[in-house]
Symmetry: C2
Subunit: 195 residues, 2 copies
Amino acid sequence: MVQADKRERLIQAADGLFHQKGFEHTSIADVASAAEVPLGNVYYYFKTRGDLMRTVSEHRLASARARREGLNALPSPRDRLIAWVNSFEDSTEECTAYGCPIGSLCLEANKLGGPMAKDASVVFRDSLEWMRKQFLEMGFADRMAREYAARILGGRQGSILLANTFKEPEYIRLEIARLRKWLGELPAGKGRNGK
Amino acid sequence: MVQADKRERLIQAADGLFHQKGFEHTSIADVASAAEVPLGNVYYYFKTRGDLMRTVSEHRLASARARREGLNALPSPRDRLIAWVNSFEDSTEECTAYGCPIGSLCLEANKLGGPMAKDASVVFRDSLEWMRKQFLEMGFADRMAREYAARILGGRQGSILLANTFKEPEYIRLEIARLRKWLGELPAGKGRNGK
DNA sequence: GTCTATACGGCGATAGAC
DNA sequence: GTCTATCGCCGTATAGAC
């Protein structure tokens, strides 16, 4: 199907360009040219630039979920979390070069105002939710589970910002190692789901 | 002096707007109108938009240094660090609403490429350097001092990103509390400056 | 030094032929 | 469904009167 192919190529191109150059600095013409689709044709698939951005976010959400699907085979929630954190290593170079694709987009969307902010945040919201469930399964109270999930995501985002700012991947690697160590040593919670 | 006054007003206006709307989304016209200076006159004070941005970064660097000056009166490096971390509380609301002014600018500048990236990073570089000195004075080896400095800055930046994304200041407050606790309990280093 | 008017380019979005 | 041509707006930067 030619349609789906072009649409897919546009999403892929937009995803990459939003990451590398930022949303605000990526024009429809940039996306069209990278996807090798004529400029005007883009508007057949996406009504506005914001629409394209929302689609990219949905696409990223699906990707993140798919990557976690594989982890659900692991029997222990602790191991799932550690495997998840370890998987961050694959993107160290890209994140050092361009920052976190999701984090950058959230920040940009928030400055723009409007409904895009919520669209961009769905990936983080979903990640936090998944991590929270793992910590609940480890026996932590809901409050702790939320706090720990935020610690992982926040720690990672902070390390990426530093790595990107100073073009130094070591910040990311150190944080991954620290999170892994912390998860490994963390005593399991006592309550059954914090009851 | 009318000159210095206008220049100052332009810097202040640009500082605020870069924070609230982002650099890429703030036009010279926006800055001029916020500072109540005619559009064309801006170019008498700043050659280009990038020039204005560099000036704002220098201005922020000076502010951060001035705020730390007061802390140098404290005799213990640990207390200086704790006081520094505590001072983050003042900006919790603004950071929740608009993100970290410095972090946002660094990220944007990195996406733009060119020399702006370095201009934007000077504030972080200077903060890290100051924190590193405090940890050295506490007796930590240089490697640990750098790592700990990055932990404070990274932890803070990550918490701000989450707070901004979800419009929830609690992320920032929790991280401040965690850093304060960590600094309070951290055993002093053994070596004299890591020797 | 100050301000107005405007040149010039780029971008989002659309019209309309095929 | 596909693609070209183009409209209209906004942004940076400059020219030049005062």
